[in-house]
């Protein structure tokens, strides 16, 4: 499984990657592989403010629906509209074309509370 070293990770397998003032949110390669073929992604409205650990959407694989949790608090400034027509992007490029949200973080300290790539790798059994 690949781990994006530029991102930080929640224990629930979402990543948060700082890009300037914006944080890009998605799910890890490990998470997409565990879920299997993703067939639907439900994302919030742009402008919504969601707290760390709160549900921001749902990802549906062939067999099950799973909640998505905010890795850091913030205001949704953009959602990945491509996932509506091609949810399998999350499987194919979890860190690239399969991103889910761009948020304006409300508390920059929260990034530091997430796991770095190395620690996340350990939690999923990869060194």
């Amino acid at each position: 499984m690949s781990i994006d070293v530029r991102a930080r990770y929640a224990e629930s397998h979402e990543y948060a990657r700082q890009e300037g003032d914006i944080v890009v949110v998605g799910i890890s390669d490990h998470a997409q592989a565990e879920l299997g073929d993703i067939v639907f992604v439900e994302l919030p409205q742009v402008g919504k403010i969601i707290g760390k650990g709160q549900t921001f959407g749902t990802v549906e694989s062939v067999k099950a629906a799973s909640d998505l949790y905010m890795p850091v608090s913030g205001k949704v400034v953009e959602i990945n509209a491509n996932l509506q027509t091609d949810p399998a992007l999350v499987n194919k490029e979890p860190y690239g074309g399969g991103w889910m949200l761009k948020i304006q973080p409300s508390d920059t300290k929260e990034m530091g509370q997430l796991l770095d790539a190395k620690s996340y790798g350990k939690t999923i059994g990869e060194e």
Binding site: G36, V62, A65
Partner: protein, 340 residues
């Protein structure tokens, strides 16, 4: 049989639609019925007409209880000296008990499940693959018939039947040859340049769902009668069969619900999800639902009030508390090969 192989459920579905999928379905049960009373017994036991069946015919049927509820669905093969009945894995024992409870001393019922292996070979290239690997040619067989073929020294009964909506067949052969036959089909596909992959349960479900075929425990079950599940066509009311009188009474009284196909917008419908009419009044519930890879739709099968069954009727499916737009659609979503 795993949920999916490393190929992935959606791709497995598409491979079966474009080339060949192999399904390791040894869990299915096979029951042989013989004896001087076998013909009369089978005719009364199953809902479909069987009196006109001669070798090598095979036919779909239901197994009903006295109330017209669906105990199982079956494939019935007319063999030269007996009947070969394929039953669902989870019902093997209850079906056998039911068969035995309703048979007389002139009928012999033998469970062949343990010494028989079953693989489905399905897809537009399935017949070509079989013809390259076994003799005589199965392309000569009509749909819903069977033939005896030989793969090297393994005797195989090939039924030109299936559960995917594609052409192909289901093969029965001695269980100790399972690995040989499976590998021969996989390796044969590879060396002949015919894309052939093992297919898991998830794709088996989406393939059968698109093609409008029922899955026991979902569209049919001992809590669902044959008429509301839209299986009047599989019931021969010109003969006597278990459940006939009950179904006639149900038909006279009128159905309280009916199976429909429902397309859903903005979410994946799943088994158990509630359905309302456009005004929000309770209408029924989903018994199966998923993403359908070939038709690229989110769809469910649902039992709904009989006034809501017309194609085009707007409904709402409740997904995690949110009512999502839905509409009754024509079943099946994907026209099976044998109807094209």
């Amino acid at each position: 049989m795993p949920i999916s192989y490393p190929t992935g459920a959606v791709e497995e579905h598409m491979i079966t639609r474009r080339s060949v999928g192999l399904f390791d379905i040894d869990h299915m049960g096979q029951v042989e019925v013989s004896g001087s009373g076998a013909d009369a017994f089978v005719s009364r036991l199953v809902s479909a007409k069987v009196s006109d069946m001669r070798p090598p015919m095979a036919r779909y049927s239901l197994l009903l209880d006295d109330a017209g509820l669906v105990l199982d669905d079956l494939f019935v093969y007319r063999l030269p000296q007996s009947w070969w009945i394929v039953v669902n894995a989870s019902n093997r024992q209850t079906d056998l008990d039911w068969f035995r409870a309703h048979s007389g001393s002139d009928v012999v019922i033998t469970d062949r499940s343990d010494d028989t292996y079953m693989i489905a070979v399905q897809g537009p290239n399935a017949i070509t693959l079989m013809d390259k690997l076994a003799k005589p040619e199965v392309s000569k067989l009509e749909r819903f018939t069977w033939g005896n073929i030989q793969m090297d020294d393994v005797p195989i009964l090939f039924g030109r039947t299936g559960y995917t909506g594609e052409d192909g067949g289901e093969i029965f052969f001695p269980a100790d040859k399972a690995e040989f036959v499976w590998n021969k089909l996989l390796d044969g596909g590879a060396s002949l340049g015919i894309e052939t992959k093992p297919i898991g349960l998830a794709a088996r479900d989406s393939l059968r769902f698109e093609a409008g075929m029922p899955l026991h425990g979902h569209e049919i079950s001992p809590k669902i009668n044959a008429l509301e599940a839209l299986f009047k066509w599989a019931c021969d009311f010109d003969k006597e069969f278990i459940g006939k009188e009950a179904l006639q009474a149900i038909a006279e009284k009128g159905l309280s619900r009916k199976l429909v196909g429902v397309e859903v917008f903005g979410g994946v419908p799943r088994e158990g999800y509630e359905i309302t009419d456009a005004a929000g009044a309770p209408a029924g519930h989903c018994v199966a639902g998923m993403y359908c890879p070939s038709v690229k739709k989110y769809a469910a099968n649902a039992f709904v009030r009989p006034d809501l069954t017309k194609v085009g009727t707007p409904l709402k499916v409740i997904i995690r508390g949110q009512p999502k737009d839905a509409v009754v659609v024509k079943r099946p979503l994907y026209i099976p090969a044998y109807r094209r």
